[in-house]
Amino acid sequence: MQVLIIDDEASIRNSMSEFFDDFGIAVTAVSSAEAALDALQAISFDVAVVDIRLPGIDGDALIVKAHDIRPTLRFIIHTGSVEYRLSDALRAIGLRKEHIFIKPVADLSALVAAVQGLAS
């Protein structure tokens, strides 16, 4: 299983990579949407964990683009914004409320479980 993590906050990005790694999940972590799109060209990821507020292209736009590149890619939204609402475009891709995790996630195991659920 290949998971792509996109987060501009290093401590989050790193801790999540480490946590996923501890659970034997292969993780590629990038700090921007642009980098993520590059990575997507190269690797076929199963799941992407996307932060919304990103420098440059934001998370919403990234998901749309990523879906264009890899239609089988599934997404988890991991955001600090409590007022986040799914746009119609994302709903069309198949995102639902349960795919949204608000930071801070009290127990990362829940996030891992969600990723595993999506990948299988």
């Binding site: 906050e9 501890d22 009290a106």
Partner: protein, 1032 residues
Amino acid sequence: MRSMRLKLATRLTLLNIMICLGIGLILAIQFISYRKVEALLSEISQDHMDEVIRNAQNGRDLASILADINLLTHRFFEQDNQLKLMSGRILSDMTLLSQTNRDPAIGKQIERFTAALRVFFKHCGQVNAVLAERRTSDREMHRRLNALEEAITDRMIRNTLSGESTDFIEQLSLLVYGYRESLLEIGKHFAELRYDHFTDPFANSKRPVLDMLSDLKIRMRTLTAADQEIQVLATGLRKGIDRYSNAMLALYSAMDALRQARLAMRDHQGGLITAMAASDTRLAESAEAVDQVIKTQLQRTGSIVGVLALTILAGLITTSSHLLVKHVNAPMRSIQAGIANFSKGLLDTPIDLKRQDEWGVIEGALNRMATDLRTSYTALEISEKSYRRIFDNVSEGIFQTETTSSGSYFTKANPAMARLLGYATPQEVIQAYADLQNQLFVDPADGERLVDVLRDSERVSGFECQLQNRSGRQMWVAIGARLIQDEGGERFTIEGTMADISDRKAAEAALRESEDRYRTLVQASPSPIIVHQENRIVFANDAAVRSLEGKAVTDLLGRETTAFIHVDSLEIARERINKLYTLDLELVTGDKIPTIEEKFITLKGNTIDVLVAAVAITYEGQRAAQVVFQDISTRKRSEQEMVRLRNLLKNITDAMPSVLVAVDANARVTQWNREAERLTATPARYALKRPLSEVFPQIAEQETRIHDAIARRPFQPQATVNLAIGGMERICDIAVYPLTAEGVAGAVIRLDDVTDRLRMKEMMIQSEKMLSVGGLAAGMAHEINNPLAGILQNIQVVENRLMGELPSNKRAANLCGIERSSLTCYLEKRRIPEMLASVSDSGRRAARIVDNMLSFARKGDSARSSNDLATLMDLTIELAENDYDLKKKLDFRHIRIVKEYEPGLPPVPCSKSKIQQVLLNLLRNGAQAMATKRGSNEADSSGIPPQFNLRIQRLGNMARIEVEDNGPGMDEATCKRVFEPFFTTKGVGVGTGLGLSVSYFIITENHQGTMAVSSQPGKGSTFAIELPMSSH
């Protein structure tokens, strides 16, 4: 002479009586003879007419009876009932006839006829009896024939059954058939027989029915050849025929008898009719005899009357010629001679006729007349003397003047006249004047005027003028005189009396002066004054005319006083007027008629209010009432306007939401509005006129400002003060305004209770504060959540890698040559896990705070669903029990929970999680509060265990949830602030102070409900939530 003693009238009367007697005699004779004739005539008419009528009536009755008899004769056959009925009626008619009849001859005939009738009816009855016998026989025959037939039939059947010959029997039956036919024939024949058959002796000689019967009997002999049984029946039949024949014979003899009886009856009937005819003939004869008597009577009467009339006429002529000669012509001549003597003046020679009749009376009257004439001449002389005495001695002057073309002078004057004019004797007066007009009258025009008046009206009395006497003294005199115009026109005479009235004139002048003074005074009075007599206005001054809106005084004079009085005042006015006219003059002055207010109506119809004073006075010698009044309409209007203004002012001040108190220069209350009453609980009637410091001591400290205002200093600006009113701290704005209007010194104090407004303001500030916290939180959340996520995630990775059983951990340890157990031991020794847990815990708490703060920003974002509040409450209790926190020494399980849920409450639309959050918050706060009271949630020293009373009930269209604890409670100030964000009574670190404010926000903003708290310090607090039962 004896004949002279009777009066003439008596003689004439006697003659009249004789004539009357003669005529009366003639009339009497005529009357008697006429009465006789009349009596005879009436006798004829009465008796004879009665009898004629009766005879006619009897004839008619008899004819009707005869008709009835005739009818009965042809109808009575076999009709016994009708016979009895009709015969009875005919007999009773006969009885009636005999009763009405008077003629004995006829009566005898009626009796005979009646007897014959009775016999006839009896025979009729006998005929009917025989007829009945015949019918019985006929029926019996038929019956016997029936029996015979039956016997024959019986026999025939028997013979046939036994095989015997039936020929004979058949013949028999044919015979019987023939018999029946004959019998029916006989019956038919009988029915065809008529009455005449029986009564006509010639027709009677043939008797067909009898012949047919005997024939039938012979034919029946054939039956004897039959057997025993039939023979018996045949014998019966023959006997029947015999009976029938006998009946027929009896009928013939009965009918014969009847015929005899009828003939006898006819004879008597003829006798009766003859008797009646004889009676009529007798009547006619008797009428003729009476006629003869009348003629004789009339002739006799006529001759008696003629003789009598001739006798009376002769007597009358003799007597009347005697009377005329002796008693009329002779005395007339004597009287004529006497009257001639009187006219010559020979009054002493009386007439003497020597008669006692009417002529005697005439003689007496003429003689008396002569005597009276003599006496009157003497009386006239005496009278003349007495009049002269009066003339001389009377106190008034009596005069006679004569005016001719040459002058005017007195012709007669009495001594009083002389004295009046200053002369000693009348003679001097007559001589003294030659031109009266200029000599006597002070103003000669008066003399001319007197003559003019007299010429016009011939008489004058009370003519007042001024004369001068001999010595030149002027005096007032009243003259009464008449003018006698002599023929020719130049001369005339005036005669009359005059009296000195100087004294009276002086008195009148004085009176007039006094009245003029009164009039001037009243006329000039500015007050309206009117005088009325007998309710009519006799005087009114100018002011009264103006006041009653007249043009001139004539508009009022003569009018009724009451016409000017308004109906409202009419009753009392009438009473007063009545009093003025009826009471004693002394009594009605002064207080008896008090001055009062009345309403008048002016001539133009306007109503005016007046103040009326009235007194009784004497006006021109008569009782009158003087009314002085004053138009107070303007004053009244001002008063009303003032009342209106006062009310308006009161309404305005009462309508103000502020306390308005006006004070005068001495700081005494002059105005106290409703709001002031409400705030101070002091009614206006108590507060008015009292010192402000007494009725409103709370603003005593403002006194300086108030005094400054009273001293006309400029407006004292508004200040906010705290006042203790009704045991409560109120915040009030106070402003003092000086009263600057002329004549009013003082100030107005305006006090506005702004406590509620300030509280409202605070609430709004708080609300805004919460909203700004929400906005801030929303902005901050992202920024804080990211680092928090970094902290928490990293801690989790660290914990995992230090203490987790991960394969990579083992690999790393092996690489580093570290035993896992030693590392664990080391970490434990250094209490690393504990510290890591602490970091993690702090991070989570920070995240929770951020989340709670975000609640202010989230409005109705959570989905509503219908929730059963009881279930929700129970779930929350469970949650609270699991929220066991050692550090806070909270053991929820030790708290007693009393549930009072109203059953059947419908589900309430709400956000389940939010309401649960609120309830959990309340339970947690309550538990904490009870714990602080007792040190723990064990029973305290008083032995009362911690207890929650949880109530859910319905209040109208709201669902109410109450959470009551028995903790320490809160004071009022705390209660008010308990919903403010970050307000907390808990120690530092126990809570954030956001819980209740978030709850408040959830209930009021998200659910449109209400949330309130009430508390009694030392006893506990109750939080009440009300949620609408239906979502909007």
